[in-house]
Amino acid sequence: MTEQGSNPQAIKILIIEDDLIDRKSLQRLLAKSSLADAVVETADSLGQAKEALKKGGFDIVLSDLGLPDSHGMETIRALRSLVPELPLVVLSGLDDEATAIQALQQGVQDYLIKGRVDSQLLGRSIRYAMERKRAERQMRVAEQRYRTIFENSAVAIMLADEQQRLISWNRFTEQLLCMTPEDLHHRQISSLYPPEEWQRIRALNLRRLGMQHHLETKMVRKDGQLVDVDISLSVLKDAEDRVIGSIGVVHDITEQKKAKESLERSFSLLHATLESTADGIGAFDNSGQLTSFNQKFLQMWGLTELAQSGLTRARIIEVIKAQVVDPQVVDRVLASAYSQPEQARSGVLELQDGRVIEYHCQPQRLAGQVTGRVWSFRDITERRRTLEALQQSEDRFRQVVENAQEWVWEVDADGLYTYVSPIVQQILGYSPDELVGRLHYYDLLDPDDGATVRRKLQEVFARQDAFKGLESCNRCKDGTSVWLASSGSPLFDRQGRLIGYRGVSVDITERRRLHEILDRKQRNLEAIFDAAPVGMLLVDSQTIVRRANDAIRQLCGKDYPQIINYLPGQALGCIYASSIIQDGTHTCGVSEACKDCALIATIRQALEMGIPVHGIEIQPTIYVDGKDVQPSLSVSCEPVIIDGAKYAVLSLHDITARVKAEKEMMEAMELKSQFISTVSHELRTPLASMKEAVLIVLDGVAGPINDDQRHFLDIAKRNIDRLWRLINDVLDFQKLHSGRMQFNMQPNDMTKAVEEAYTTMLTYASKRQIHMSFSAQPNLPKGTFDSDRVIQVVTNLLSNAIKFTPEGGKVTLDLSKQGEEFVIKVSDTGLGIPKEALPRIFERFYRVQRPGREIKGTGLGLAIVKAIVTAHGGRIEVESEVNKGTTFTVWLPVSPRPAPAPMPAAGDTLIEGIVSGH
């Protein structure tokens, strides 16, 4: 049936016409028109047309209305449903305006009257119809895309009219507000907000000021429940800046607070349907007389009334000029049209009332002569508006898509990208051109992680399901990885076949990274928590154990299920707490014995007062492995706030072994002490007899003795005395050491006591040829001290001074009072003490190393001196220079505080013992 040579670029036209003459006439017109190279097929019935259309490939259908197997509108409807995508131009012999309008309403692109069509009109009409259909199709696709996003969007989008009634919304709106379309239809938007929030929104004066607003507010669900939302409000205005409604984009931030990305901007939904209008047609002869016109022409230009009284060209031009925005345009159009009568003209006129009229004008010929001009006018106001609105909407959509953090994409059924929004370049580094038609979604997936995601998506594609929040690791162009969360929904063609998916993806790399860091930290902390050698319990404000570590399990011999969600006493296995929760009541802390429980008190102090407690020692009786044990526990409790709630971290250190060792150590020390005391006392008795016996012989009581005898008895006596002193030192030290030394604190004369010590030592000094002197400040008051002990101190210091001073040296003793203290100073011109030894000379058993000179002693003297001085509330200091001399200074309070504490210098020894014992 092809009647023309095949040109692949050529328009393919199907002519449906049962009348052979009309058909031929049409083909002839076409051949003469600008569409001369069009490929034309013909059909003489609807049935034949259907067969032809099934093969496809047509660009336009020209059809008569009256066919053998179909008539009138029926023909249009049949064709429209068969090939909705194809433009359809009706060629009818019926010059009836009602039919024409009806046909246009049915979606016909043009309605031409047989016999009134010339080749140019026909060509133009066909091109025009195709162009219009194409525009319509494009708009529909665009609108569909917006509609999908609008519907699939995870934000609620609502449109209200100028009366603030809801006129459009997406599915998410229904989910958000838990309302049905019936609930929402024409609902006053004020009823969606709590009254006070509505006042706030009104106060923004959005409609008047016309700005876009972004605020956080609350909305009311159907059940009255409030939902936190983040809302963007903007007004919709028409071309004259009149408010025609508003758009609200609502984010449910109750659900999405954790996700930080801002999502959507506003969308606008369009009402995009092109409205067909019939042409107004007027034909003028060369004299300017209106020769022919249709009703539409009159209606369009308001000429109906004038038509009664005759229409001249000048009159018509006058009327038209009166209506257009710029009358000069009319003059120019006319001048141009009539100056070149052979040329067709077309253009657009803008009217003052806002209408836009498209005009076409071409010469009317009769027998090859131009006899006049035919003008056709088409009201394209609506179309223009629709186009503008679509343009605006698309602009807005583009802006939203291009500015949003979400990447909008479409893939075909194989996963090949068919559309990507430009943001993809920021996210993945690929430009849209590099993706669309070139790469599949799975080409971007990370090689390691991708297989699982691809399998998952293949399953989703197979089921044709929508998907949401699918996380995948994707490889950027530069090789780095980006995590995306994607949602998408399937796209179907008319036959319901899956043609692809459309959706959005969000970059969640940073969010995942933060999560990973947090996870890792959490795991590290957990590992530390579990590995800590100290038992740790995390208890909540109800003192219920929420966490426990391994050391706790070891301590109480239970597993986590018997520890977690119990009270501490139950968890530990305290015998006063039952491990069973009776009648929903916990049983820790309720018995009489619990009143004094240090553990409970500690936790309460931490929880209620927020005060940390450290190092409380408790000895609970707990039931472990079938028997009662009493471990010694060192308890610390630290209050903490986790997610705004009060908790306490209880750490339990099992110090049973240490406590036991301490106890044993104390017992051993006590035993040693007693032993020393006993032995020393037992030594004194025989020593006393020895001394007495020696003295009897030495004093000549038992008869005369010769010089040799005296010499040896002197040796005996001297060594007995020495032994006596040693025993006394050991006893004194032991008493001081164990805190058993009794001090006889009495009002005494300090000068007298010091002088007594001085006198005692005079003999020794002179024997060693040391010059010793004593000076005392006069009229010193009486002080409170143990006289014997002070004498012991001074004697000891003098003895040391004499001992360590070479023959011929000097020892001076001085007593004075400074403030409320006696000051006793013992200075010598002796050997001095090396600097490094100074800090240690008061330690017991410490002896200064003196090469070449070993001077006998126990190493207890200065330790005893210091102990006595300290017990009196005083202090002792030493200054010394080697080979120059040494000065000891003792400060003793005139009136010491009552009950001077005998100081056991035992503490450090004890610790050493424990440490080394472990």
Binding site: H711, F712, I715, E854
Partner: protein, 137 residues
């Protein structure tokens, strides 16, 4: 030379070097030793003991352990290292009775080990035995 030395030895009283830092002990013990027909030389520290040993060539040394300047163990070590003095018998006379002290001293080769306080008759017999042993060599 050896014959001459021996001759000299037998001709006079055995000479004992008594070493102790305690003056009273030197006084009483030397009195007793002299009474028991020994020649006595005293020293009150280790250094002095070595000097006296070299100068006096005693037949026996009674040696204390705890002394200033040089202790008894060091004296022993140096005596044993000196070819002229290494054969002089030594009896330790010390307050240190711990087994490790005895074993340190024994490792240098000693004639006997006497702890303070001591029975003088016992000491005299041990001194006699040591001197005799030395003479018999």
């Amino acid at each position: 030379m050896l014959g001459l030395f021996k001759l000299k030895k037998t001709a006079s009283k055995p000479k004992i070097l008594l070493v102790d830092d305690e003056q009273d002990l030197l006084s009483t013990v030397s009195y007793r030793l002299k009474y028991a027909q020994y020649d006595v030389v005293t020293a009150s520290n280790g250094q002095e003991a070595l000097e006296k040993a070299a100068a006096e060539r005693p037949d026996l040394i009674l040696l204390d352990t705890n002394m200033p300047v040089m202790n008894g163990h060091e004296v022993l070590r140096q005596l044993r290292a000196d070819p002229d003095l290494k054969d002089i018998p030594v009896i330790m006379l010390t307050a240190r009775a711990a087994p490790e002290d005895v074993s340190v001293a024994s490792s240098y080769g000693i004639a006997d080990y006497v702890t303070k306080p001591f029975d003088f008759n016992e000491l005299i017999s041990k001194v006699g035995a040591a001197v005799k042993r030395d003479e018999d060599r």
